[in-house]
């Protein structure tokens, strides 16, 4: 069938089953927007900034497991999208981002709103395309979706010159993709799997180290089953919160820079790490030479480049976590003796009793940790929690009772402030039956605050809980600990009127200073069905603890901060 390139873009989006596209029009992408106007196969949500469009598509993808789609114009529209692409790339989130480009004849002439999109995005996309002919367009769109969601997922950019979206061509959307140069491996090497299984049976102190790959591979049921069969304890990374479920007695907690004491000690003393889709990030390992000194390592990852990148691995297994865990379980299920690891579990339980994750509550001032626990008590399983980046993010990861994967959505790898609110909008669009709450700070929320308008216009009632300490809190904490309290440019005392700001954009706002007020505000926000700011005045100088100072050994945690 003959149709324009712009129509092909819409038809491909529909064929891929995408229900919602986030975007912002402009000159070079206008042909496509003209077709969007004419069709009703998918909804388009107009964000108020291209960065937010990509973060919203990202939040949608993380919440649903589907590919998120964003659309932007050339030049500045595209460069605004870069932070979104880099955020998704670092956390391996499947996105297809479609950008307009100046016409082919203008490429290379420094035309109006021309920028080398494929050049700029090359290091922060899984793959990218500059479409050079209408004849390639359908195939490229199909490949883009396939590459985004297969193997180790990631964002794919398709940059389309304006004359191609205007040109007519034959639309033959491929059913399958066969790329001779790209063959992700899912099953794992059976010999390595066998060896790893034997190592698990022999170990005395094995530890599951669960990363974001376990979420991406939808492996949580298999992992919970594996744990329940073997009674091997588990730690989660920031990206894996919810895989085990907060109530699981074998979940030791989150490890790393702000992990709990028992988790970091578990990693320091284990004799066998079973890494499931984790990548030994520097925020997890601390000082490498002191990291897991007694452990052999089974590293299961779909991306071979992750294996052996940071640490030497004894049992490398390239494959999908879900499939490999099933295979290991089948091999050991009749042989494993859960009692074998009892002593190890006892040791970890004692570590946890010694220094449990805790904070000092107060009647005078709201503690941010209390607020997060309270959200957990009031909405718990019914909520999806997004977050921005900083102290609130760490408290969220530490204190919220995550019950399932995809319930916790945050920019873990890139650490993008301004991610939480648009991601919450995307998550709410993907999962309208859930309450979506963005736990944010008074610093982060102002990056992408314009999305109040988007949320109001489209009736997307996400709740932003601003843990307001009038500081750029995490940087302030480092200044307190490591820079002699020289609070260089982190005092955010000059603030907008949050309630009026939300109201001015069609939302609702609450100022909260007590526990009672918080309960009422949250109940009212859930009831109110409007985009909401709950501005919570919290203890200005609360610190995120425990803390492994950057570059320090994982077992050397600051457990409390003593005022000198």
């Amino acid at each position: 069938m003959k149709m324009s390139g712009a129509q092909m873009v819409c038809e491909a989006i529909i064929a891929e089953g995408v229900k919602t596209v986030f975007g912002y029009p402009g000159g070079a992408i206008m042909n496509v927007y003209d077709e969007i106007y004419k069709q009703n196969g998918f909804e388009h949500i107009l964000t108020r900034h291209e960065q937010a469009a990509v973060h919203s598509a990202d939040g949608y993808a993380r919440a649903t497991g589907e590919v998120g789609v964003a659309m932007v114009t050339s030049g500045p529209g595209f460069t605004n999208a870069i932070t979104g692409l880099a955020t998704a790339y670092t956390d391996s989130i499947p996105l297809v981002v479609i950008s307009g480009q100046v016409p082919l004849s203008l490429i290379g002439t420094d035309g109006f709103q021309e920028v080398d999109a494929v050049g700029i995005s090359r290091p922060c996309t899984k793959h990218n395309y500059l479409v050079r002919s209408i004849e390639d367009l359908a195939k490229i769109l199909k490949e883009a979706f396939y590459i985004a969601r297969s193997g180790r997922p990631g964002p794919v950019l398709v940059d389309i010159p304006k004359d191609i979206t205007g040109e007519l061509g034959e639309f033959d959307y491929p059913k399958n993709v066969d790329l001779p140069t790209y063959k992700p491996r899912y099953g794992g090497n059976d010999r390595q799997i066998k060896k790893a299984s034997e190592a698990i049976l022999k170990a005395k102190k094995p530890l599951l180290y669960i990363g974001g790959g376990a979420v991406l591979s939808n492996a949580y049921e298999e992992i919970r089953e594996f744990v329940s069969l073997t009674q091997i304890p588990a730690v989660e990374t920031l990206m894996a919160r919810g895989v085990m479920g907060a109530d699981n007695p074998l979940l030791i907690g989150m490890l790393g820079m702000h992990g709990n004491y028992a988790s970091n000690m578990a990693m320091s003393e284990t004799d066998l790490i079973i890494s499931l889709g984790a990548r030994f990030d520097d925020r997890v390992t601390g000082k490498l030479s002191e990291f897991a000194r007694y452990a052999d390592i089974i590293h299961i990852d779909i991306d071979p480049a992750n294996i052996g990148k940071i640490v030497d691995v004894d049992y490398p297994i390239v494959g999908d976590v879900k499939i490999v865990v099933q295979k290991i379980q089948a091999l050991i299920k009749d042989k494993v003796n859960p009692d074998r690891y009892q002593v190890w579990r006892d040791i970890l339980a004692r570590y946890d009793e010694l220094h449990p994750l805790s904070y000092k509550d107060s009647d005078e001032v709201l503690k941010p940790q209390w607020v997060i626990q309270r959200i957990g008590q009031l909405v718990g399983k019914d909520a999806i929690i997004t977050s921005d980046v900083g102290q609130h993010q760490m408290w969220g990861a530490q204190f919220y009772p995550f019950d399932r994967p995809r319930q916790w959505i945050n920019s873990g790898g890139l650490g993008t402030m301004g991610f939480g609110f648009p991601a919450a909008i995307g998550a709410k669009v993907g999962c309208p039956e859930k309450s979506v709450i963005n736990i944010t700070g008074d610093g982060s929320i102002l990056m992408n605050v314009q999305e109040l308008v988007t949320a109001s216009e489209h009736n997307i009632p996400v709740i932003n809980v601003i843990l307001n300490n009038h500081f750029l809190g995490m940087v302030r904490q480092w200044q307190t600990f490591f820079y002699d309290k020289r609070y260089s440019e982190t005092d955010l005392s000059y603030q907008p009127n949050w309630k009026m700001l939300a109201q001015a954009c069609g939302g609702e706002g609450y100022d909260v200073t007590t526990k009672d007020e918080f309960d009422k505000a949250l109940a009212s926000a859930i009831e109110g069905k409007k985009v909401t700011f709950i501005n919570v005045a919290v203890d200005r100088f609360e610190n995120v603890l425990p803390m492994v100072p950057a570059g320090g050994a994982l077992y050397n945690m600051l457990l409390e901060h003593k005022e000198q």
Partner: protein
């Protein structure tokens, strides 16, 4: 860990951007490129790249894996069993003793390939170490210009 020199062959789809993807990977991750050559493989839609790099064991392993991870990469070959050759062109002023230089070329399986009114050009194709020796040996004739091709390699 000690840095070693490595010759890596990469078979890639012969398409736009592919050289930029490879060189960008090296630049972005801080790997060295000592030399890089690329040309299409006859009767196919693939190209053969030969990259000479230096790094410790972990870095070389990462380079291979990261190269393989690029979507247009078909195959990455990295081992000791490579036949490698490199070419050098050296230009001399016409006043220099052409027969001496020709004799030198012959010792390195090379030849004088061009003679003009005020200069002549010698060519040698051999392993990199031999090429370096040849360049060293010609220095006493004060060459005007030296151009090396970079390494091409093939599995044995």
């Amino acid at each position: 860990m000690d840095k070693v020199r490595r010759v890596i062959s990469v078979i890639v789809a012969n398409e736009a951007q592919v050289l930029a993807r490879v060189s960008g990977l090296f630049a972005g991750r801080g790997y060295n490129i000592d030399s890089l050559t690329v040309a299409p493989i006859p009767d196919s839609d693939l190209s053969h790249m030969t990259i000479v790099t230096k790094g410790n064991k972990r870095v070389i392993e990462q380079i291979v894996k990261q190269l393989h991870k690029l979507i247009p990469t078909f195959k990455v070959i990295e081992h000791d069993e490579m036949v490698e050759k490199e070419m050098v062109l050296i230009k001399f002023p016409i006043e220099k003793p052409i027969s001496d230089i020709q004799a030198l070329c012959q010792a390195y399986n090379g030849a004088i390939v061009n003679v003009g009114t005020d200069m002549f050009i010698a060519m040698v194709a051999d392993e990199s170490v031999r090429v370096e020796h040849f360049i060293e040996a010609t220095k006493r004739y004060q060459p005007i210009e030296v151009v090396r091709s970079g390494v091409v390699a093939m599995e044995r």
